[in-house]
Amino acid sequence: MIGSAIREQFPILNQNVNGHPLVYLDSAATSQKPRQVIEAVKSYYEWDNANVHRGVHTLGSRATDAYEGAREKLAKFINARSTKEIIFTRGTTTALNLVASSYGPSAVGEGDEIVITLMEHHSNLIPWQQLAKKTGATLKYIPLQPDGTITLQDAEETITDKTKIVAIAYVSNVMGVTHPIKELAAIAHRNGAVIVVDGAQSTPHMKVDMQDLDCDFYALSGHKMLAPTGIGALYGKRALLEAMEPIEFGGEMIDDVGLYESTWKELPWKFEGGTPIIAGAVGLGAAVDFLQEIGMDEIHSHEKKLAAYAEQRLSEIDGLTIYGPKSREVGVVTFNLGDVHPHDVATVLDAEGIAIRAGHHCCQPLMRWLEASSTARASFYLYNTEQDVDRLVDALIKTKEYFGYELG
């Protein structure tokens, strides 16, 4: 039920690009959507569309049920204690910014520390950089090992009793590194800090359990896990969210509005000002169903196998450098092909119908650390197969030849 068998449920994959069957290896940027998700969004608009939480009419109730139903599915999917802990957002970026803007200033002051790594996506780096600047706190980085991993010993030394926030990705979007979140959470808590986890690259690919990880905040994006763009979520421990102030004010989030004072709705709605992304949430709910029908463990092991196969096949190419650890938990492989620039690699691959990412992957500090101005990245998901890897390898060999000898 995975790999080639599942492919046909993704209509977009059934097409030729530049005369070749499409091989989509850019799921770390955004995933493709199965028919089930596309149909759920379509059916919502064709039958249930109305605004939520206010309509007395039937469509209003259906839309509210669909929206809140999606929240319930997501809460179960990541094993939150309650739906009150799930705030729908536009995506991971918005979720992380919400924590930095609302929780940040109440928890961090001058002389305090915020701890991150230089491998963070810009969305889990700049909000903390800004918070540090505004509050006079110090931004500290847990050092990276040569393969991009971190050690718990380094984490112990970097996180101190001055640390108020530790922010880190569960899985790196560039190196495919998986960080030991549970252990890091314990270190953070021992020092009186909270841990904020960027779950954009982990949630789509492996089982994540909020209660087991014991993280305080966890951000995720729907579009990387088969759902539409524009929907994501922030998980937060209830007590923390209760104490936080909303950062967006308006409709949907209020309890009572007076001329000079207003009060907020209870969780999770106090953080969801304005008409929410209802159809997006419906799509996310359908995506969660789809992923669960297959099973996250199944997906995870499929990707691990693919990553290992890709690693092995890619390392057969003379002059190709792979960045990151030897064994990967997820299907993200970043590389450079000799001195051929990644944009040129990506263009030649595109001519062969293969979609990869080239650039700095929203990780400029990491690129500097790697001493690469940019890299090429192939990322895999449940619909990819070993044949896709073979096509990639063949095309890379062609690229090498093209830039070596065959210029017209």
């Binding site: 620039h341 040129d344 001519a351 830039f403 210029l407």
Partner: protein
């Protein structure tokens, strides 16, 4: 899609044997520009005297298209009046829109016309020219 439309021999020649690559030691006008979506960077230096671009050099990191374009551009603008350099920049924009443009003595540049068929790469080709416009702008303001 024909890759040879994009990667002509003359482009690879400029990429592998760049002209005017380097920097001036004195305080020549310096423009730094990057392409935030892909990480390409260019540092262009211009020596403008009496309305003439006396010399130009560049340094940078980027793909074959952005770096060869910078190499060709510096060759083309050296010795030109500022007005002519801007005219060349306008002509280059037209070239990127798929129009036939004659670059006269600097026909190497015309090899980049194929970029037009690769929309994702146009911003690579125009990086150096955008740096030139920015530089001339700054030069005019200092007058």
């Amino acid at each position: 899609m024909n890759l040879d439309d994009l990667y002509r021999r003359v482009i690879m020649d400029h990429y592998k044997s760049p002209r005017n690559r380097g920097s001036f030691e004195d305080d020549a006008l310096k423009i730094e520009l990057n392409n935030p979506t892909c990480g390409d960077r260019i540092t262009l230096q211009l020596k403008v005297e009496d309305g003439i671009v006396k010399d130009a050099r560049y340094n940078g990191e980027g793909c074959s298209i952005s770096m060869s374009s910078a190499s060709m551009m510096t060759e083309a603008i050296k010795g030109q009046t500022v007005e002519r350099a801007l005219e060349l920049a306008d002509n280059f924009s037209l070239l990127m829109k798929g129009e036939d443009v004659d670059f006269g003595d600097y026909e190497d540049i015309e090899a980049l016309s194929g970029v037009n068929k690769f929309p994702a790469r146009i911003k690579c080709a125009t990086l150096a020219w955008n740096a030139l416009r920015k530089g001339i702008d700054e030069e005019e303001q200092h007058k």
